[in-house]
Symmetry: C2
Subunit: 562 residues, 2 copies
Amino acid sequence: MSPNFEAIAESKAKGILSAIPDHWRLGIEVPPAEEQRDITGKYVQQFLTTSEIEITETDAVGILEKTTTGKWSAREVTEAFCHRAAIAHQMTNCLLDIFIDVALEHADTLDAYYLEHNKPIGPLHGLPVSLKDQFHVKGAETTMGYVGWIGTFEGQKGTGKERRFESQLVTDLRQLGAVFYCKTSVPPSLMSPETHNNIVGYLLNPKNRHLSAGGSSGGEGALLSLRGSPLGMGTDIGGSIRIPASFNGVYGLRSSAGRLPYEGTPNSMDGQESILSVVGPLGTTLRSLTFVMKALLSKQPWLHDPMVIELPWRVEHESRLHAMIGNIGISEKLSFGVMRRDDVVLPSPPVRRAIELVVKALENAGHEVIEWQPPSHSRGLETAVEAWMYDGGEDIHNAFSISGEPPISQISRRYGAKPVEQKTATEIAANNITKRKYRKEYLDYWNSTAKLTRSGQPVEAFISPLSPYAGTKPDEYRYLTYSTIINVLDYTSVAFPVTHADRNLDVVDADYTPANPADQQVFESYDPEIHHGSPVGLQVVGRRLQEEKILSLAQMISDLLL
Amino acid sequence: MSPNFEAIAESKAKGILSAIPDHWRLGIEVPPAEEQRDITGKYVQQFLTTSEIEITETDAVGILEKTTTGKWSAREVTEAFCHRAAIAHQMTNCLLDIFIDVALEHADTLDAYYLEHNKPIGPLHGLPVSLKDQFHVKGAETTMGYVGWIGTFEGQKGTGKERRFESQLVTDLRQLGAVFYCKTSVPPSLMSPETHNNIVGYLLNPKNRHLSAGGSSGGEGALLSLRGSPLGMGTDIGGSIRIPASFNGVYGLRSSAGRLPYEGTPNSMDGQESILSVVGPLGTTLRSLTFVMKALLSKQPWLHDPMVIELPWRVEHESRLHAMIGNIGISEKLSFGVMRRDDVVLPSPPVRRAIELVVKALENAGHEVIEWQPPSHSRGLETAVEAWMYDGGEDIHNAFSISGEPPISQISRRYGAKPVEQKTATEIAANNITKRKYRKEYLDYWNSTAKLTRSGQPVEAFISPLSPYAGTKPDEYRYLTYSTIINVLDYTSVAFPVTHADRNLDVVDADYTPANPADQQVFESYDPEIHHGSPVGLQVVGRRLQEEKILSLAQMISDLLL
């Protein structure tokens, strides 16, 4: 226990700001949310040059088209994103680290490589990639939101790994040509759907500063929303990629466990294998996510991470879909499930409207949409809730106790003020059996949709809310089932933006009687005035390890929404 | 607690015998081991007709060539194997159930199908398949070696599933055309490398009746050795497929977890997910194993078992190998690792000779063999030992207590007389981390062999003992590391026969000083006179989920040994 966690945190926070050069200081005070609700787009552009705006508003694939052909230098791209990220941080506190010099130096070596060999070093040559402050990257530290981790390696001093050890994913990205320049904010332990820590404070949504940026990859969401990054890497054990992607109007992929390398990346309750956290990309376009997935799998991550399955990118899975949806001549109509609500909570009006927009778009294009009526999601969720409590909170409380900092409210609500009794081996085994049986039941349900579709085939995917909220006010995110059930099932899910909350279209149904406390909480948390303008996303969900297919389908749906 | 477990067991044992028709009774007493050590081959043939011998000594692929083209009827094939299995059981007590009428009736429906459609019902049309008495099959009960499970469904009465519920694998095999006719003997709980239960007693090795048939799929091993089955299905959490395959001179595949469906198959300590038991085939030829793997994967088991990975049979993995080893014109030399011994125990002389036979065969064919010097196997093994004790033996003791039967000695040695304290969630998580780190270390070692090979590529596979014993006398199997380390790593392994113990070639080195108690136990357990004639197998081991490749390599090595 250290009495001065505040001092350590403050010093870290100041260090981030002081890493930003003077000429990139904002110079002005950002007006309060009441005056300037949305600081993305035009607002943030005022601090940038035309050239910086052009670069930073190009998606990852567009950037790579330039950097791998010598049209843009890695340095100018890196510098533009460093500048925009620095501005984003000054406006939102979305970063836990920024290392501009290291990034520019790396960019210079890439430019030198290109000059010498007249070819890029790899498919991600010169692409700035932001990292959730959970990944280890050489030259920087990792806090995972804990004050106690500042100046340490995962809470320990003198390991020799401080600022040296690198997560496998980061090394792979680096070898592919990516440039790292910042670590994005997270809640301590990552076990929260909002981003709040004792280092840089609470993270608001740049699109609607009355609301949360979501979590736990909230810094990624906010930074992408402000275009301070073209592509970021997050992790997801209950919605931590998809919630911030959705709240911030960008795309996020929750890949299935074993598809991307987690090796060398710290985590809360590491070794809890019932519900595995997974790695996945967030980005401003879907094609960026697909591109980085292909690039990462080209590294054969199964040769470096024993948890990764030998499963190269299956072009044939994409091409089957492209054939079916008409991209290469043959056009066939597909069947989708739609889940308008689960068995406990009715989503907020903007989310319900988003669902209808997608259903209409699919149906207008001739696709079939059937009701998705799977085994109870609330029942399925219990496995995750149980798994997160196996150790009674010991690991998380240990991490807080390093510095003596208090848990943030989202964490103390779940894990209390101190650890409780651990689960026994028999209880853990029973939970694994419950999980397996639930997955089996869900699989059988999915197969059974063959009886309901015109084609006689099971649906290709289902569309569902990934959050009942269209953004939440601080500390109001409570109901996780829509996102977390996907982690229980280990399915592939892509979060994609659909619309924005609209005070005129998304009115409160005054006659609605909530069916239970969770329903009531979601019902009461929506305020048409406050939520106005907030991005609203949904998820398209596929079976396990269907990343190729679900990214293709998400693209098809997004195109139909244009 | 029931006082009369002996009566229940005896009634079950008598029931198995009484299911054998009178005209299939042996009629003679089999002479003791001292007079008739080996009862396979010529000895067992005396009880069969020429036609029955022809059928039962044809491998699964050969049988299917006949049954799928109408040359042999399913009935005549089934009848021949039922007869031979009935004889095998009378000589060894290798079965826990036999259901001839059900099998013949099923065979008749297959014959009728063929007659009507002039084509087989599936790729396994009319193939008799034996099942370890762990798999559920309609019309029969499952004991898993427990007296308490007799007349129940997994120890419970009145579930409505008794004799009705079927394991997914069994249903898949059935739909492919397989015929079931017997359940093979296992030790209660399956957690033993020998086969001994309170129902049909201790299972000796038909090739050398002084020795154990191995376990836990020991009934499969013995039945295959006597050619009472062309193909059987077993499971393996520490060597339970490979040990009996090896001891009985047949082939066995330990597939990686998630390749074949375990759904609906009971297990000990179900829900323990750190070291997963896996399903795999045992057979009299390698091509039989390959054939059944292809057939099973053609059923897309990932659509019916949520633990199965969507990974169809990859013909390209086979063909790459076939190209490299010259089967289709291009010939390239391969590199193998060879592990002559681990860090604790020197294998018995016959096993050491087997290793040298394989090394010489590979080198004579121009392949490269390098020393395999991986991270300590004995250290790696600790993860499995710990995982098997998570629940302190509660599940296993509960199952014994249903009938009040005493644990067999191999079980009580590990699990004591009553349950001990369970592991905590934190301890289980720590063990999972240890496992993952060990797997990573091993992966890195494997990759590092690229520096040692002529090709500059890592070795394709490594050759290792799967047991330090060339068979064991009853209750002398103690040292499991050679087989179990593969379960810790979740690697693909094929057990294949190499030679037989030979009292003239495999002499005891009287000067050898054992390095530790385990080494001493293995050293002392070998007796050239007693072991003479015992089959000796080895394993060829590939990375995770490399079933196609390792079966191909095992075939290549076996061909070189001819």
